[in-house]
Amino acid sequence: METNETVTSMQLKLPADLEQIRLVGTCISLMLTDVCSIAEAEVTIYNVQLAVQEICVNIVTHAYEGIFNGQIQVILTLTKQPSTLIIELYDTGQPFELEAVPLPNLDEIGEHGYGLFLARELLDEVHYETRQSGNYWRLRKHL
């Protein structure tokens, strides 16, 4: 973890594995635990962990579907003014059509579509783009 007066950052590279991605949530908790300005800190940390978990699961199960030995690079950046957590995720799996994912019909409960819905509801920004080197997600939460 690197720290200066205004920015704290953490980088990790994980195997694209549903068990390993739990580590991202642990890192988010470590970074945010000492941030005094967060309203309802426990709920906010949980919400960020859940939103990022949903994107990571999406990468493991869709981007890397049928692909072994995939990796996810994660960069967490905490800025103090304004107090914001930015989560950047890189993978080299198949591209994703973010806009093609339908919203779940909340009046008719189903098994699919909640992941991206939750990420969008719980974060202030969910940005995705396909780059030459792979897929890039930028997630942002104002604290």
Partner: protein, 114 residues
Amino acid sequence: MNLTITDHVVRTVVVATNDRVDAFNAPQLRERVNAILFDGVNRLVIDLSGVPFLDSAGMAALVSALKHARQQGGDVKLVWPREEAARRILRLTRFNRVFDLTETANEAIARFEH
């Protein structure tokens, strides 16, 4: 006197865990619940009170259990997680409108009786 006595017992099974229910281990929950339903039980209580973290894959496992139980004429009742953030997610996704949620497993069992 000719008496006919029939003992009519309807089983209700409570499934509880203190672990996360997420994409990694939700398949285990599905597998266990499917085995219970296959065994002829269609009244299930899934006790989430000790669950510290629930993601959409875990929620999908709950929906799957509900659909299967209802197809068999039964139901699934949930016990609210104690974790406040998880409770809010269940409200955000309107799970509380589809599932009957209670504060304790005993309360959920009692609701099956009435």
